[in-house]
């Protein structure tokens, strides 16, 4: 099952990596460099899933998540991708469906996305 994935990540290389592995599995990936761009992106086209970095310039992951949930009544699941050592707590704070700590095995990321897109799971 393919989906539209929004990667919100300020590091272009990491964003590219995430995009590469997901596109290879047939997902359509859009990249936003920060929360603000991400908000614009979700307005343009609603994603099926959002991979969200927490620490970004202009607008961080937390602010984006709050704003996104305030705007969207039917929000897409969010996977927090963070380097913070308390990733799990942060994910819970923003109401994320899952979290993944940096660095990660790209295969794990793919699995996590797949599991969240799985209708049975949802």
């Amino acid at each position: 099952m393919t989906a539209r994935v929004l990667v919100v990540e300020d590091d272009p290389d990491l964003a590219a990596l995430e995009a590469d592995v997901l596109e290879e599995r047939g997902h359509a990936v859009e990249i936003a460099n920060n929360g603000k761009e991400a908000l614009e992106a979700v307005q343009r086209a609603a994603p099926d899933i959002i991979l969200l970095d927490m620490k970004m310039p202009v607008m961080g992951g937390r602010e984006f998540a709050e704003e996104y949930r305030r705007r969207e009544s039917r929000a897409a699941p969010i996977v927090v991708v963070t380097a913070a050592d308390d990733a799990q707590r942060r994910a819970a704070e923003v109401g994320a469906s899952a979290w993944i700590g940096k660095p990660f095995d790209p295969e794990k990321l793919v699995e996590k996305v797949a599991s969240l897109l799985d209708p049975a799971h949802r």
């Binding site: 990491l14 592995v21 380097a83 308390d86 700590g101 940096k102």
Partner: protein, 780 residues
């Protein structure tokens, strides 16, 4: 004192004696009733000659006796012990010896005089034994009078020099020699002499006047009256009451005086002797000592009868009695006071010296200025002086001791004051605030830093609430809980607790910024172990805490920033390996190396974050029931497999091994031990992991044993210290930051477990830890 002691003593002693010596011949002449001028001249001449000879002899002997003293006096300071000893002996022994000899000369002085008189006046002194007895008694009287006088005089005269010699002997350490004459004996002898001299004298005079003077008077009177009656026999009367005159026949019969006849009849001895004399001579006298009667008779010229006079003694001879009394009074009035003066002087002088010293002592005068008391005589007073001297010695010794003690005390006080000043200086220059309080909690000492802290933060010292300003902010724990009064370090130290480096936070009253204080406190115990107070040391560690916070922030930011590039490296490497089927084996090895390198960087970053958290005491631990066996087996399975190492897991005791622990952190600890076991077994081998369970201690354990290089003995001590590496600069230095074992220890310790190791260089190491069994497991 005159240089020539002998001359002085002799002149005074014999000068005093001379007055009495002049009185004695007068007494003697009176005693023996020698009233004719020629006779008296003979007696006085003999006495004077004898006196001169005897006095010259005595003075010569005295000079011999006193020679050591005169020699000593010439150089009293340079005299040797022997000379001092001789002088002391002379000074103490001379009075007694010389007095006895002196008095004895008076005992025998008039014996030769009497002997000569006896031969010269035999017709007038017919009673030879009685004259001898009288002379002996006279001698005893003189002896009794002379002995106390001579002894008192000599002791008085020699006392001062004896005292001086005693002091010199004392300085030379010479024991006082000489015969000890007890004061009691002296007083007894004196009083006996005082009794004996006048008593003997009075007895003697009384006896002699009766025996000699009375009877001879009677005989002379009777003879004279008989002459008168014989001249005029017709006109004689009956006589006087004392002298009865009569005419008697040659056979002794009284013719014309009945009283005279009765008188004769009453004295038969007189009657018989008169009758015998009448038959032999024409005139004569008859004495009868027993009836105290004398009869004188004279033939009447131209008659066969005789004139007879019987004389009776008067009641008493008043003139002689008055003489005796006057003489006795004169001698007694001069002799007794002289004796008393010298005796009193010899007793009172030393006593006054002793009294002076005692009053000096009582008056608390300077003990060092107390002189020694001379020993004037070897008697009780001398002993008293010796005792007083010893007392002064002891007083001076004790004064010296007290002075030394005082000096020592002064010195100690000075040292103590210096130490206190040093301590104050040290304390005041300390960065830490030091507070001491007494048992009641009142602050007794605060150093300069302490005062600064007090100004800033009065509450931290733990002073009783009453002493705290009302506005004082209360401290709170670093986690935000308020610190109540009973939790203050000094208050707890007063209760006996020792507090080591506890942090409290206060809000600065100036800028309301938090001030971090690190306090230690301990009770102060007295020698018996009871708590006498407490001391607390507090340090403002705000800067240190701030630095720690900055360091942690830096590590977190750095970790965060590092993790993204690591994620890219690792992600692409893994993706390439997984997706590019055309990769050559060489390229695949390169990608694997990139992945491992990225993983190592990631591990280092994670370690740094952990260490930082452990250091800041903010390591998050979430205890839950964990199956240690499952955890261990999963960890072993997750280890990168190498061909050289074989890791086996076995149970050392029957399971289960459920412990109460944080799963991730426990896994981290196990992994650190497994990593090390592999790392330090470079030539491979078996790594054995043993699970154990100790029901009694309520704990389960894991030990990881390798057969690697082991830890050198000298490197074992600090093995759990942060950044410590036992193999630095050895062939077995396989890199690393020295963080792993520190973290393992922290992780296990914080979960209530223990960690230890056993190792021998070249034979491998065994690291073990325990964790508390989970409650349900322990119960089962």
């Amino acid at each position: 004192m005159t240089r020539n002691l002998t001359a002085r003593v002799a002149s005074i002693a014999f000068g005093v004696e001379l007055a009495f010596a002049c009185a004695i011949p007068i007494a003697y002449l009176h005693l023996f009733d020698i009233d004719e001028g020629g006779d008296r001249a003979v007696v006085i001449g003999m006495a004077a000659a004898l006196y001169v000879v005897r006095t010259a002899g005595l003075i010569t002997w005295l000079a011999l006796l006193l020679r050591p003293i005169d020699r000593w006096l010439k150089q009293p300071d340079a005299a040797g012990a022997q000379l001092t000893l001789g002088a002391a002996r002379a000074a103490y022994d001379t009075p007694l010896a010389f007095s006895i000899v002196w008095a004895t000369t008076w005992l025998v002085f008039y014996w030769p005089v009497t002997a000569i008189l006896q031969s010269r006046f035999a017709d007038r002194i017919p009673l030879t034994p009685r004259a001898g007895a009288a002379t002996i008694l006279f001698g005893i009287s003189c002896f009794s009078a002379a002995l106390p006088l001579a002894y008192s005089l000599l002791t008085r005269l020699l006392g001062p020099v004896a005292g001086r010699i005693s002091l010199a002997a004392r300085e030379r350490g010479v024991a006082l020699p000489g015969r000890r004459v007890s004061l009691r004996v002296r007083l007894v002898v004196l009083s006996l002499s005082l009794i004996a001299a006048p008593t003997v004298w009075l007895t003697l005079t009384s006896y002699m006047s009766q025996v000699w003077t009375g009877q001879r008077d009677l005989a002379a009177r009777a003879e004279r009256l008989a002459d008168a009656v014989a001249q005029a026999p017709a006109s004689h009367g009956p006589g006087t009451p004392l002298d009865l005159t009569a005419i008697a026949s040659r056979d002794g019969t009284v013719r014309d005086n009945a009283e005279a006849a009765r008188e004769l009849f009453a004295a038969p001895a007189l009657r018989f002797r008169l009758a015998r004399e009448l038959s032999r001579k024409d005139s004569g006298t008859v004495l009868d000592p027993s009836s105290e009667r004398a009869a004188g008779y004279r033939a009447i010229p131209g008659s066969r009868d005789v004139a007879l006079v019987i004389s009776r003694p008067p009641g008493r001879d008043h003139r002689a009695e008055v003489f005796d009394l006057l003489f006795f009074a004169l001698v007694a009035a001069s002799w007794a006071p002289v004796c008393a003066i010298f005796l009193a002087g010899s007793i009172a002088g030393p006593l006054q010296r002793i009294r002076r010293v005692v009053s000096q002592i009582v008056g608390r005068e300077d003990v060092d200025k107390l002189g020694r008391i001379p020993v004037f005589h070897r008697d009780e007073i001398g002993d008293l002086a010796v005792g007083a001297n010893e007392m002064i010695d002891r007083l001076q010794a004790s004064a010296e001791r007290i002075r030394r003690y005082g000096a020592d005390r002064e010195q100690l006080l000075a040292v103590a004051a210096r130490r206190a000043a040093e301590l104050d200086a040290v304390l005041d220059n300390m960065v830490e605030g030091v507070f001491a309080c007494d048992k009641s909690g009142s602050i007794t000492h605060t150093n300069a830093a302490g005062h600064r802290l007090l100004d800033l933060l009065p509450a931290v010292t733990g002073a009783p609430p009453a002493e705290k300003p009302a506005t004082a902010p209360l401290p709170y724990h670093p986690d935000g809980r308020a610190v109540c009064a009973a939790e203050l370090p000094l208050v707890r130290a007063l209760a006996g607790e020792v507090i080591v480096e506890e942090d409290e936070v206060l809000e600065s009253p100036n800028d309301h910024r938090p001030v971090f204080l690190r306090s230690s406190a301990a009770p102060i115990r007295d020698p018996s172990g009871a708590i006498a107070g407490a001391v607390a040391v507090a340090r403002d560690v705000t800067e240190v805490v701030e630095l720690d916070r900055l360091k942690d922030q830096f590590i977190r930011v750095a970790a965060h920033e590092l993790k993204t590039p690591v994620a890219i490296l690792k992600g692409y490497a893994l993706t390439l390996m997984r997706t590019d089927k055309t990769l050559s084996p060489r390229s695949r090895r390169m990608l694997e190396a990139i992945d491992r390198g990225a993983e190592r960087i990631n591990r280092i970053v994670e370690d740094l974050v952990d260490v930082s958290q452990a250091f800041l005491d903010v390591l998050q631990l979430l205890p839950e029931t964990v199956d240690l066996e499952e955890l261990v087996r999963a960890s072993v399975a997750g280890m990168p497999h190498t061909e050289m190492h074989r890791i086996s897991v076995r149970r050392g005791a029957p399971g289960p091994f459920n412990v109460s622990a944080d799963q991730a952190r426990t896994r981290q600890a196990v992994r650190i031990l497994l990593d090390n076991a592999i790392k330090y077994s470079p030539s491979g081998g078996c790594i054995e992991v043993v699970l154990d369970r100790d029901e009694a201690n309520g704990e389960a354990g894991v030990s990881v044993a390798d057969c690697g290089v082991g830890i050198p003995t000298q490197g074992q001590e600090g093995i759990f210290r942060l950044f410590y590496r036992a193999h630095t600069d050895t062939p077995h230095d396989y890199g690393g930051m020295g963080i792993g074992l520190y973290m393992a220890k922290e992780l296990i310790k914080r979960q209530g477990g223990r960690i230890w190791f056993r190792s021998r260089e070249g034979e491998g190491s065994t690291f073990s830890f325990t964790l508390p069994l989970a409650r349900e497991s322990a119960d089962s």
